[in-house]
Amino acid sequence: MRHVVDSGLAVGAAIVVLASSLLGCSADPATRDKPSVKYDPVSGRLKELGFDATRNGRNDSVGFMDGTHVQRIEVDEDEDGKVDRWEFYSGNRRLERMGYSRRHDGALDAMAFYGEAGEVERIELSTRGDGRFDRVEFYRFGSLARVEEDTNGDGRVDKWETYAVDAHSTPGESHPIVSASFDDAFRGTPTRRFVYHPDGRDVLRVEVDPDGDGVFQESTAARPDRPEN
């Protein structure tokens, strides 16, 4: 599992350090930031470890620890003084969640949740950057399977998308859209639904649910380019 430091931690760390010294570093060793370490004054346990994750000579990341336990790592990817990424780890150093500042303004506006095997399970987004998470993307086998979104900010989902994902999917691969449903009346249930051709390109049929009972019927507005049955 790629997010978990396995039992060969010491060996892995040694390899990383060795690789770093072999590959070299762009920064002058004399001006390179040194890792910073803070301990709890009462317990003496390690609290913080500042380090250079990008290996450019400047410390850009801080690991928040409880002794040996890595609780959280904050990364300033663009080194502008604001945190861009937050990594939250479980007791066994498994990456559980990763927060992200999409606007790189120091405000966490996206959060990915990972499964036991390290795969992305869900991403929650604040698309307006107002602190409210209004879009949720659900993943299966590492690929987008479903989307729910509150587009008008009233607290209720008004858009649903589903995608055809199967067990043989390559993680990150995009798959054909199956359907897209919209609640244009903002009543809490879809008013209309596009059902797509299996190739995920064209709308196969349009369905409507005028009374909101969850039962869709094909729209009576015939498409001019569709042959009559």
Partner: protein, 158 residues
Amino acid sequence: MKRMLSLALVYSLTVSLSAGLGAQVQNPGVVTGNVVQANGVISGSVRSSSGRPLSGITMELVDARGTRVGTTTTSRDGDFTLLPVAYDTYTLQCVQQNKVIGTSSVILKAATESVKMTCTSDAGVWNKAGVVTALVAVAAGLGAAGIVSTKDDASGSR
């Protein structure tokens, strides 16, 4: 006599005008003529779920019957503008590599309508590994491998 005629004319015009205004108030809302279909322009910007502007994405406008009625391509900044269409309810589609990767409902009821939408095309961004390995390497470089030892009984203390 001439002055009498002038006064009578003014009185007549005043009465006629008052009567006309009165008729207008009593019978409002009557409009005749040709109704012109109102059109509007839909524009906006598209970003990925990680906030990256999506350039070169085909944006399609689909009407309520599922028929494509407009198409354009996003700019370098992820911006797009479609040709004017009649006021109605539409669906915007992001198309990448001949697949629809995101949708948005647009109800056009004004001369311009701005849409900001998220289309997912970079799930790989979220699959990247964390930096805990780098932290461990730094600890090892400090000669403090025990700080992040895998042993459960390590205290991490000085």
